[in-house]
């Protein structure tokens, strides 16, 4: 998993370097949005890999929506 963290961090740094000019001209909102979304993404990766109990949204959604399905899955 260390390789995933390093890989994502390297790509984030590379994106920042590549888009540095656009970030400077883009305005405060764009810079904040860029930074926040990157941080949130890294945070999600750490949560999924380190947390002892992970909440999987599609698993939960599957359980919630199962009664509404028109077909009974017996396959």
């Amino acid at each position: 998993m260390i390789s995933s963290y390093i890989g994502l961090l390297l790509l984030i740094v590379f994106s920042c370097w590549r888009d540095w000019g656009s970030l400077r001209e883009g305005g405060v909102l764009s810079r904040w949005a860029f930074g926040s979304v990157m941080v949130v993404s890294f945070g999600i990766l750490i949560y999924v890999t380190w947390s002892p109990q992970v909440f999987y949204p599609t698993e939960w959604l599957g359980r919630v929506l199962q009664p509404l399905l028109p077909f009974d899955h017996h396959h």
């Binding site: 998993m1 995933s4 984030i12 860029f34 992970v54 949204p57 077909f71 396959h75």
Partner: protein, 358 residues
């Protein structure tokens, strides 16, 4: 930049005719067995209806696309709807990244961890996406025709291995199963609706969407029939990637040992382009919701988020596969119910000028 009808058609073929080969065959065959082809046709007709609804609505706004029209006409409600689409597009992008990563891990690079594969796929998609619509049009013009030509080649080579008797009985149809098969296939075919959402009414011609849908569906149906007639129904309904197992059967004397790798080489860029277009639509929609944000600048963060979500949303490859039972419920709401709402709500206003979007 002018977009021609042919480019839109090829983009449609690329968009619906790449990832869908991986998951839909097993589900459709489990439900409809040898009549899964009819499921694709029924689902295609429903998608055609949605496409017609959206295209008719788009004709009312010649200078913008549907998302801009929605945000312009209903600033608050429109943006709420766009946020829902945004979340769904994020899900689709994450799902596609995970499907490709799992597939690559299973058949090509067994020892490379899935997150690393996801990272590589996402990075490639981000860089394609940063090329803008021009990059997608270029890729679709190169790879879609090559892929269609390779399908002809696959049919020719596998002709001697076809067993039409695998489809017996031909006319004893289980309509409940066929409808269930259409239920599974619909979310994948209906993704073509993204084209009229993001392409301006000035360039989007309804016929291009219809032809793209028809060609994409025809390719899916051809590969499905080949899989069923070569591998047999019991195998197709149990394999996770029957389309890939089909092309593994291709043998041209002793010429090339892994011919499937060559065909994967033609298909893989299409799959990467599809993910890149998912990202493009995601960033485009984000820019309409928050006009002060630069869509191009948000490509890399959106890619990072989609990658993180691809790891988070799905526990493993099997849970990803099983979510296909529930996904149609969400897809029908967004790809059928909401286009009907668009058709009803976004009517011309007579003499009042249209407010500018964003």
């Amino acid at each position: 930049m002018k977009i021609t009808k042919r480019q839109i058609t090829l983009l449609g073929v690329l968009y619906i005719g790449s990832i869908s080969y991986l998951h839909t065959y097993t589900l459709a065959t489990q439900a409809a067995r040898q009549h899964a082809v009819i499921s694709y046709i029924i689902s295609g007709l429903i998608c055609l209806l949605s496409l017609w609804l959206v295209a008719t609505t788009l004709k009312r706004f010649s200078d913008r696309n549907l998302l801009q029209a929605l945000a312009g006409r209903f600033p608050i409600f429109g943006r709420v709807l766009l946020v829902i689409y945004l979340l769904f597009l994020l899900f689709i992008c994450a799902r596609d990244i995970r499907i490709i990563s799992d597939f690559t891990n299973t058949v090509l690079l067994n020892r490379t961890p899935v997150p690393i594969l996801g990272l590589m796929v996402t990075a490639t998609a981000v860089y394609i996406c940063q090329g803008g619509i021009r990059a997608f049009l270029g890729l679709s013009e190169i790879y879609a025709p090559i892929f269609i030509a390779s399908m002809f080649f696959v049919v020719l080579v596998l002709l001697r291995d076809l067993h039409p008797t695998y489809l017996v009985p031909y006319f004893s149809m289980d309509w409940t199963g066929i409808t269930e098969g259409a239920w599974f296939v619909f979310p994948y075919q209906a993704e073509i609706l993204v084209l009229p959402l993001v392409i301006s009414g000035k360039y989007y011609k309804a016929i291009s969407g219809y032809v793209g849908l028809a060609i994409g569906t025809a390719l899916m149906v051809v590969l499905l029939l080949l899989s069923q007639m070569v591998l047999g129904i019991p195998l197709v309904e149990r394999l996770i990637h029957p389309g890939y197992e089909l092309i593994r059967q291709i043998q041209i004397t002793d010429f090339i040992d892994r011919f499937d790798l060559l065909l994967l080489g033609f298909w893989y860029p299409m799959a990467l382009s599809k993910i890149a277009f998912d990202l493009y639509v995601l960033c485009y929609t984000l820019q309409i919701v928050v006009p002060k944000l630069s869509g191009r600048l948000m490509t890399a963060p959106a890619g990072a988020l989609a990658f993180a979500c691809s790891i988070w949303f799905f526990k493993n490859a099997l849970q990803l596969f099983h979510f296909n039972f529930v996904l149609p419920l969400i897809a029908i709401t967004l790809y059928l119910v909401i286009p009907i709402l668009f058709f009803v709500m976004l009517r011309p206003r007579g003499n009042k000028p249209e407010p500018k979007a964003g």
